[in-house]
């Protein structure tokens, strides 16, 4: 140890959060009595500017070389006080925090005990900081290229924001075209813009942007590396159409004799075995679905090939693997729509005229299978339509959360129905949630259009009529909770406002990118309020509905925020890495490799020559797994050395 430790201790009142329970004077004078403590002071708000200045001044004037702040949780302010130390010329790892709020004053009303515990925690921090050492904070350059996964509105927005600044973007989309769910929508609330009209310009910008490399019909297979320097392996699935030769004339899909349900039309329309999913698709190149294509089953047909003048059909095409190097990754994989078939009482799949919201969007759309006509199966016009809210949402049997868009799209549907038909519309809702800008106004507008609101959760949809009016109808049974009585509502079409849920492969995707998921299945953000775009893995952002249900405005805002994060990092050009890493003592290492298989960040490699493990400091996150596992005790964790931990323990125990 270079200099003899000179420790300063700063006790915070946190307004009255701490001082109302903990006796600040007792604690401060106790701190002053501790070994190596040069100064101990208290202040109303240590985190405020004057509080910070107090520490800086003491470091400079009293020559402090260790600092302890006894205040709130390190989660709250460790970064603040580390910065304060650095600004006064002290390495950030020479700082230690004692949590006397969450661990003392907030958990008891007994002032005496709280004070005793505060003393113990401060003693522990002082003893610990005594042994702490300055650590180097490595910096590495950032690769300016960015990978964006998912080409829905979120991925598209982020890609354009980044590429427009002149930086390279790789946009990987699993489906044959970008567009995601938004391109399936007919109109969008609350302004009722035509979804395709506002979406397709952005899609074609992506397709033609010099700085965006669009990799459609592709999937990320492998990710390695770390913030600033990721390596990614992408599988470009065989389309069986040569993208360079194809002129997008569409004759192949015209001539192909084989049909399957159209994914784009949510299964209510059909497409061919070779198909461009929808007219405005980007890229506008067909793909052969080998499940439906008869050539792939029997070896006969090849009709498309015969008619393709550009000779673009290539039955021999193989999947390609492409390696990318990027500095940042944005995950924008969106959501799945809840499948309502398990709620058998609603008869989805059993009754033809019970449909989901997304099916209704396609039915409403002029390019959809009904040419935009709202009709019953068979083509007749409806006299009445009911929309059931919260299907799969706000229900502990399915998803406990609110999907946030269903009330609003249900209102939108009511408007579209009123506009296109003479049908009566019923909204079966539990609570109307119209929280966004201009949303309440939209609710009011739809109410003015003469929609009927029934407050209650529908118990069943049945075709068992009990009187003449109900004959041939679908009858909804519900308690109108405002009337306080059970009513039966006969209608022709029932639309289920189905939940937005995490993608069925969210678990695999999370593992691929080393990110976490919250209990609801969506990807977990670093902080729900203060950092809703970053993840716990540096360099990886989550934007759009893959992070949680949201509408388009929120999706676009979050995507732009994600892009801003990436751009900030690119413009800074380098990233600081954590100084707390593990080191192998080569003398002690027996070369058993236990640590290598355990490291969750693949940070350890084996030096075949010396037969010892070696830790890559840029990859090491300082999780300590290897430290605990090493049978030869050859690994030390910086900032968590045995000496430091023992001293801290002694501090609490004595």
């Amino acid at each position: 140890m270079e200099d003899k430790p000179r420790i300063g201790v700063y006790v915070c009142h946190c307004g009255t959060n701490i001082s109302a329970t903990v006796d600040i004077d007792t604690v401060t004078s106790y701190a002053r009595s501790l070994d190596s403590v040069v100064v101990a002071k208290d202040y109303r708000f240590m985190c405020s500017d004057p509080g910070q200045d107090l520490i800086k001044q003491d470091i400079r004037e009293l020559g402090l070389n260790r600092v302890v702040v006894a205040s709130c949780s390190p989660l709250m302010h460790e970064a603040t006080f580390r910065r304060v130390c650095e600004e006064a010329g002290l390495n950030r790892y020479l700082f230690q925090m004692a949590n006397i709020r969450e661990h003392c004053s907030w958990v008891t009303e007994n002032g005496k005990e709280a004070t005793e515990k505060a003393k113990a925690l401060i003693n522990a921090a002082v003893r610990r900081v005594f042994y702490q050492e300055a650590l180097e904070i490595p910096e590495i350059p950032v690769n300016p290229n960015t990978l964006i996964v998912g080409g829905g509105i979120a991925g598209i927005q982020a890609a354009l924001e980044i590429a427009n600044s002149g930086n390279k973007v790789y946009l990987v989309e699993r489906e044959p075209s970008i567009g995601g769910h938004m391109i399936q929508l007919d109109k969008t609330f609350p302004t009722l813009d035509c979804s395709a009209c506002i979406m397709t310009p952005k899609m074609s910008d992506v397709g033609s942007h010099p700085d965006i490399e669009l990799m459609s019909y592709s999937e990320v297979e492998e990710v390695s590396g770390y913030v600033g320097n990721f390596k990614v392996r992408v599988r470009k699935k065989a389309r069986y159409v040569d993208e360079k030769k194809c002129t997008s004339c569409g004759v192949c899909q015209e001539k192909c004799p084989w049909k399957a349900p159209s994914e784009f039309d949510a299964g209510i329309g059909e497409r061919k075995a070779i198909y461009i999913p929808f007219p405005q698709a980007v890229p506008n190149i067909p793909v052969i679905d080998t499940e439906t294509c008869v050539y792939f089953k029997t070896g006969k047909c090849r009709a498309c090939e015969k008619f393709c003048e550009a000779k673009a059909i290539d039955f021999e095409q193989k999947d390609q693997y492409i390696e990318l190097e990027v500095g940042n990754i944005i995950v924008a994989t969106g959501y799945d729509v809840f499948d309502p078939s398990p709620i058998i009482q609603y008869g989805y799949g059993r009754y033809d005229n019970v449909i989901t919201g997304i099916e209704f969007e396609r039915m409403c759309n002029a390019t959809g299978p009904t040419g935009g006509n709202i009709v019953l199966k068979g083509g007749s016009a409806p006299e009445s339509i009911a929309i059931i809210h919260c299907v799969g949402s706000r229900d502990e049997h399915y998803h406990a959360y609110c999907s946030r868009v269903c009330c609003m799209y249900a209102l939108k549907f009511a408007h579209l129905i009123k506009e296109k038909t003479d049908a009566e519309v019923y909204q079966m809702y539990i609570d109307m949630r119209c929280f966004g800008k201009a949303y309440e106004e939209f609710y009011q507008r739809i109410a003015e259009e003469g929609v009927k609101f029934v407050r209650g959760k529908v118990s069943e949809v049945t075709d068992q009529a009990i009187n003449e009016e109900e004959k041939g109808k679908l009858i909804l049974v519900v308690e109108d909770t405002l009337l306080g009585s059970v009513i039966r509502v006969p209608v022709d079409i029932v639309i289920l406002a189905t939940a937005i849920e995490a993608r069925s492969d969210a678990e695999q995707v999370a593992r691929l990118f080393s990110i976490s998921r919250s209990a609801d299945g969506f990807f977990l953000e670093r902080h729900p309020k203060l950092d809703p775009v970053a993840t716990m893995t540096d360099g990886i952002q989550v934007v759009g509905c893959c992070q949680g249900p949201k509408d388009i405005p929120d999706t676009v805002a979050q995507a732009s925020a994600g892009a801003a994060r990436v751009l900030a990092m690119i413009s800074k050009g380098k990233v600081e890495l954590e100084g707390i890493t593990a080191v192998v003592d080569e003398e002690q290492c027996s070369g058993c490799k236990t640590c290598i298989s355990l490291c969750p960040f693949n940070a350890i490699s084996f030096d075949e020559e010396k037969k010892v493990s070696r830790i890559n400091e840029a990859l090491c996150k300082g999780c300590g797994t290897c430290v605990a596992a090493c049978p030869s005790e050859a690994i030390t964790q910086r900032h968590f050395t045995t000496e430091q931990i023992m001293a801290e323990l002694e501090g609490v125990l004595v």
Partner: protein, 382 residues
């Protein structure tokens, strides 16, 4: 206009019983829409829950006595509210705290049960007599199984037939079983649901010690109510024994090849899932397996079956209360059985049996439908 002034003691009992879940109700009304009462009259459990949340229940209102604890709504409630537990709590406030008036019929059954250990008000000694009449040995230490029939299968002439059938089957299958007489009492399940926690707990204590004294380890019951309380409620009070319902036992005997059928029953049978065996215990397959194994028997399903089965209307003390003609669920259920052209309605619960029996007395049904417990059908075919 009423001023919000909650009845504190009541609120506390309700909160204890309905627990955290009561607070979770968000008034969607699904329970009301699901509740079968609304097919025959009107009843809004949702409103009662809200009143309970605010501590503003009208204890004089007969709504408090409606819920039969059929559990249909509970299985659907999006917030996991145990509606029937809250209904039970409301009754407890009336019965135990005196916040309202207990209906006469129910009071009589309670008085009987606490006095002589059975709701019918019959003498205890008759239990012992019935065991003798059946020719079953008294349960003693070392006997493998205790057969414990429902009070209605001991005292009611119609119910008795089921106990007799069960006994005959077990004898034929060579089972080592015995019975207890005056030492045991009603299981108390319905007392608790009807709101009398103290009567229930007394019965539990006396039965648990009677079982312990006799060295009982395994009990076969012919009522799903005994089954429910023995498996789910007695353990809280220290009850520690294995319990199986007779249909489970039959399906076990069947698997082991111990049931031999000698006769064909050329009948079209439909099975009514009782709530306690179905929604409470999830025993849907066993009764159907047993029925289908009977030679010649054709099993048909009613429109509402298994998880969705309509309750007979007789649980939670409702059994003792008069339900107006036109409001009886048992009538709806019989119509469902007739709709699928069954000639036998099979049950596995004494309450269901007596409720349907009552309904079938009405001339409107003619004699299209026979009512049988599964045990009786099995006995017939042996």
């Amino acid at each position: 206009m009423a001023t919000l002034a909650p009845y504190k003691e009541a609120a506390q009992i309700i909160e204890e019983e309905g627990g955290e879940a009561l607070k979770l109700c968000y008034q969607c009304g699904l329970c009301t829409a699901v509740c079968p009462w609304n097919r025959v009259t009107s009843f809004t459990p949702r409103k009662l829950i809200h009143q309970a949340q605010l501590g503003l229940v009208d204890f004089e209102h007969d709504e408090v006595w409606r819920c039969v604890s059929c559990k249909l709504c509970v299985d659907r409630c999006p917030r996991g509210v145990r509606v029937m537990d809250i209904m039970r709590a409301l009754r407890r406030v009336i019965v135990e705290v005196g916040a309202g008036i207990t209906p006469d019929a129910l009071r009589l059954s309670m008085k009987n049960t606490s006095g002589v250990g059975n709701p019918l008000g019959e003498e205890r000694e008759k239990r012992t007599d019935w065991v003798k009449e059946l020719g079953v040995k008294t349960f003693t230490k070392g006997t493998e199984i205790l057969y414990f029939p429902c009070c209605y299968q001991i005292y009611d002439p119609f119910g008795k037939r089921v106990a007799r059938a069960a006994v005959n089957i077990m004898k034929k299958a060579g089972v080592d079983f015995g019975m207890l007489g005056a030492e045991v009492s009603c299981c108390g399940e319905s007392m608790r649901k009807a709101g009398s926690e103290s009567i229930f707990q007394n019965l539990v204590q006396s039965n648990i010690s009677a079982f312990a004294e006799a060295g009982v380890r395994k009990i076969v019951v012919t009522s799903p109510h005994c089954y429910h309380t023995f498996t789910e409620e007695y353990p809280e009070f220290g009850g520690d024994f294995e319990v199986i319902h007779f249909v489970q036992y039959l399906s076990e005997l069947l698997r082991e090849g111990k049931l031999e059928f000698t006769k064909k029953l050329n009948k079209k049978v439909t099975y009514h899932d009782s709530c306690c065996l179905g929604r409470y215990a999830g025993l849907y397959d066993e009764p159907r397996q047993v029925l289908e194994s009977i030679p010649g028997l054709e099993l048909v399903e009613m429109r509402e079956n298994r998880e969705h089965a309509l309750c007979c209307g007789g649980c939670a003390g409702r059994f003792w209360m008069e339900t107006k003609k036109g409001e009886r669920w048992s009538d709806l259920r019989i119509a469902q059985a007739i709709e699928v052209e069954a000639n036998v309605l099979a049950v596995a619960c004494p309450y269901c049996m007596l409720n349907f029996q009552d309904s079938l007395l009405s001339p409107e049904w003619g004699d299209a439908l026979e009512l049988k417990d599964i045990a009786q059908l099995v006995e017939e075919a042996m």
